[in-house]
C-alpha cells in the first residue's frame, strides 16, 4: 500500500500545532495557579487582619461579595481546558491523518505509539476535569504529557511507512489500543497520586510544601480521582495483556515468553494489583497507596521508553 504523502504532511503539521496549543493551555493553567495563589494569599491576609492579626492560618473568612462574573483565575483555567480540548482535537487529527496516510492503525512505531498514549492521557485528563474538582492540576498534568509528546515527535519521529508483517494483524487494533488507553490513564493517575502525596504531607504538617499545596485541591479529591482513573485503567491493562498473549500465540509461537515488554507489563500489572490491595489494607491507605500508584506510573514510563529503546525483544518497533 503506497503512502499518501499529503496526509502524512498534514499529520505532522497537526501534531506540531497540537503541541503549541497544549503549551498555551499549560501557560494558562500556570497563570491560573499563580493568580489563584495570590488571591488566596490576599484573602488570608485580609482574614488575618480581621481576626486581629493573630493567626496565620485561615480563620473565618468574611463572606466575599457574590461575584458578578467568574474570578480571573477560574476564567484562565477554563480557557486552559478549552485550549486543551482544541489541542486534543488537533492531536487526534494528526493520528487519524497518519492512519489515512499509511492505511493502517496509527500506532505502528514508537513515535505514533507514544503520541497515541499522550492523546489517551489528555482525554483521560479532560474526563477527570469534567467529573472531579481537579482543574487546578492542569499545569502539572500537561507538563509530563507535553514533554513525552515532544520527545516522541522530535527525537523518535519516524516517517510514515507500512508496518512489518509481524504487526499486520487485527490484534494490533485490539491489543495496542487497550495498552494505549490504559497507559494514558495511568499517566494521569500517577501524576495525581504524586500530587496527593504532596497535599497529604502538607495537611499533616502545614509547613511542608506550603507553596505548592496551596494550589492543590483537597487530598480526598485527589485520592478519589487517582483511584477512579486507575480502576478504569487496570481492567484495560489486564485485557490488553490477555489480548497480547492471544496475539503472541499466533505470531511468535507461544502466548507468554517473558520478552522484556511482556515482563514489564507483568510488573506494572502486579504493581497496580498491589495498589488496589493497599487501599484495602489497614495502614496502607493514603500516602503509601499513593506511592504504589506512583510506582505504577514509573513502570508505565519505563515500559514506554526503556523497553523499546534499550532492550532488544520481539516487541521492538521497526524504524524507531
Amino acid at each position: 500500500m503506497p503512502i499518501n504523502q499529503t496526509y502524512a504532511q498534514y499529520s505532522d503539521l497537526s501534531v506540531v500545532s497540537a503541541m503549541a496549543v497544549y503549551f498555551l493551555a499549560l501557560l494558562l493553567h500556570a497563570a491560573e495557579s499563580a493568580f489563584g495563589r495570590q488571591a488566596l494569599k490576599r484573602e488570608a491576609k485580609l482574614a488575618a487582619v480581621a481576626a486581629g492579626g493573630g493567626g496565620t492560618a485561615v480563620a473565618e473568612r468574611p463572606a466575599p461579595p457574590p461575584p458578578r462574573e467568574r474570578p480571573l483565575p477560574e476564567r484562565l483555567g477554563r480557557m486552559g481546558v478549552a485550549l486543551t480540548v482544541l489541542g486534543a482535537l488537533l492531536h487526534l487529527a494528526s493520528l487519524v491523518l497518519r492512519g489515512l496516510a499509511t492505511s493502517r492503525v496509527p500506532w505502528g512505531n514508537m513515535y505514533e505509539y507514544i503520541s497515541a498514549v499522550c492523546l489517551a492521557a489528555v482525554v483521560a485528563w479532560l474526563v477527570m476535569v469534567r467529573r472531579h474538582p481537579v482543574r487546578q492540576l492542569g499545569a502539572f498534568v500537561l507538563t509530563p504529557i507535553g514533554i513525552m509528546l515532544f520527545i516522541a515527535a522530535k527525537l523518535l519521529y519516524a516517517e510514515a511507512a507500512p508496518v512489518v508483517p509481524a504487526l499486520r494483524s487485527y490484534w494490533i487494533v485490539i491489543h495496542v489500543s487497550a495498552a494505549v488507553i490504559a497507559s494514558g490513564a495511568f499517566l494521569v493517575a500517577g501524576v495525581i497520586s504524586l500530587l496527593y502525596v504532596v497535599k497529604a504531607s502538607n495537611e499533616a504538617n502545614p509547613k511542608r510544601f506550603a507553596g505548592l499545596a496551596a494550589r492543590l485541591p483537597e487530598s480526598a479529591a485527589l485520592d478519589k480521582t487517582a483511584y477512579r482513573v486507575s480502576v478504569f485503567g487496570f481492567p484495560l491493562l489486564t485485557f490488553g495483556i490477555i489480548a497480547g498473549a492471544v496475539w503472541a500465540e499466533s505470531a511468535w509461537g507461544r502466548y507468554w515468553g517473558w520478552d522484556p515488554k511482556e515482563t514489564v507489563a507483568f510488573i506494572s500489572w502486579v504493581i497496580y494489583a498491589a495498589y488496589l490491595h493497599s487501599r484495602a489494607t489497614a495502614g496502607w491507605r493514603g500516602t503509601r497507596a499513593a506511592w504504589v500508584n506512583v510506582a505504577g506510573f514509573a513502570a508505565t514510563v519505563f515500559n514506554l521508553f526503556f523497553v523499546n529503546l534499550v532492550t532488544t525483544g520481539l516487541h521492538s518497533y521497526a524504524g524507531v
Binding site: A166, F239, W247, G253, Y255, W258, V264, I271, A282
Partner: protein, 537 residues
Amino acid sequence: MAGILALLRNTWRGLTAMRTALVLLFLLALAALPGVLLPQYSLNSAKVEQYKAEHDVVGPWLDKLGFFNVFAAPWFAAIYLMLFVSLIGCLVPRTFEFAQQLRAEPTLTPRRLTRMPHYARAEVDADPDAVVAHAKERLRGWRVAVREEADGARTISAERGFLREAGNLVFHFSMMLLLVGLAAGKLYGYEGQVIVRADGSENRQWCNSGLFAYDSFRPGLRVDGTELSPFCVRVDGFQAKYLHTGQADVFHADLTYQDGAASLGNDPDAWRKYGLEVNSPLRVNGDRVYLLGHGYAPRFVVTFPDGQQRTGAVQWKPMDTTTLLSEGATKFDRPGVTDPEQRRKTQLAVTGLFAPTAGYDGTVLTSVFPMPNRPAVAVDVYVGDLGTDSGTPQSIFSIDRRMVDAGRLSKVARKNLELGQELTLDDGTRIRFDGVENWVSLQVSHDPAQEWVLVAAVLVLVGLGGSLLVKRRRLWLRAAPSGDADGTGRTVVEVGGLARTDQAGYGEEFTRLAGGLLAVGRPLAAPGGGRERQDVP
C-alpha cells in the same frame, strides 16, 4: 507441642494476612525486574555470555544465583508459590463467609438513619403498609427484609451488589487456575525449530516424528520426544517481498501437509494445502507450525577433472537481517573415491559470503537488499580433510577451523562469483555458482493446556469486571406513623443509604431511588432532609 501448634497457627495467620499478600506482590514485581534489566538465557544466551565476559566479577555470581534465568529461578518460584498459598488461605475462609452472607438476612435498620452517609426524608399521607408495599415494588433486584418495630414502625433493609464479592472470588480463583494451566504447559508442551528447503521436492517432506527431526528442540519436563503429534509438512514455495527501504513486507510459504498417525506422510491423497504467513500458523493435530524466518541456499555445481559433477545447496546463515548477507559452507566429497585415506585428502568446501543483491566495496562483497535481485558469492574454496569422519558433529554453516590450523585443510582459491560464473582450481576442478534456493525456518509448538489458560484469563477478566464495577450497597427505609395522630394516616418515611465499598458514586443512584421510594401517596411536606455526604464517612 502446643508451642509448635501456636507457631504454625501464627505463621499461617501471618501468611494469609492482607499485608503479607501486599508484600509478596511487591516482591514479585521486584523479582521480575532483573528479567528485564539483565540478559536472559531463555531469550538470548549469546548476550548472557557477552555480559558475563564483560563483568567477570559479578557475572558468575549472578549466574549462580539464577539472575540470567529469573523466571526459572527457585527464589522467583518461592515468591509466587507463597503468594498462592497466601491466596488459598485467604480465599477459603472468604468463600465460606460469602456463602453465609448470601443466606443471611439484610441487617437491621439502624435506629438513626440520619447518621447514614445518604439520607432522605418525607412525610406522606399513605399508611406504613402502603409505603412498604410501594417500596418493595421499587426495590426489585435488591435483597430485602421487611420488619416491624416495637412502636409500630415498619422497616425495610435492602442490600445489593453481591456480585462484587463473587467477582472478586472468581478473579482470585481464576488466577490459580491460570497458574495451573501455565505449569501444565511447561510439563507437557514442547517446541522445536527446523530449517526446511522451500522447493517442494517430494523427498523433502518434514515429519514430526521425533527429536532427531529437529535442529533444536525444547521438551517439557514430561516430554521425552517419543509421542509427538504425528503430521508432515512440505514447503512447496516461498515468497518474500521487501519495501525499497529493505523493510519486510510479505512472507508467504506455500505448504502442503497431512496429519494422522497411520500414514505419516505416505498417503498421497491426504495432502492439503496451506498458505503459511507470519500471523497465521498452521494448526494441525494439536500442534502449531510457525514461519519464523527465511534465507538462501546458494547452489554450486562442481565439475571434477574426471568430468563427474556434483551439485550442492545447503542453507547459509543470514548475518544481517535487513540485507540477508549470509555466510555458510557447502561441502562436497569427491565422487568415486572410496579409500577413506584418499577421501580425507580430497574433500572440498565452498565457504564464504552470499549476497542476494550484490554491492561491492572495492572487491569486498556486501549486500544492499534482501531480495535475490543480483545474487553473488564471495567464496573461499578449501580442499583437504573436512573432519566429517571424526565423529564430532560440526556446524553446517562453517568448516572446522581446527582442521585448517592443523594444516589438513587448506585454502586453494578465493573469488567473487555472480550467478552463472565459475572458478577453476589448479587441478582443473571447476566450481560454478549455479543458482539460489530458498529455505524457511519453521517452529513447531505444542501446548495442551493453552486453551485452559485462555479460559482462566477470561475468567480473571470477568471476575475483575464484577469486582471493580459492581458496588456493594445498602439501603434502609423506615415508615413510622406520624406523631400527631389525627387519623389521616400520615407517615414519616426515612431512607438511609450506605455504600460498602471504596467506590464513590452511590449518591446519584441513592437520590434517584429515594425519590422513587418517597413518591407514595400525596406528599404532605416537601421531601426534606435530602442530602448527600461523602460515601466514606
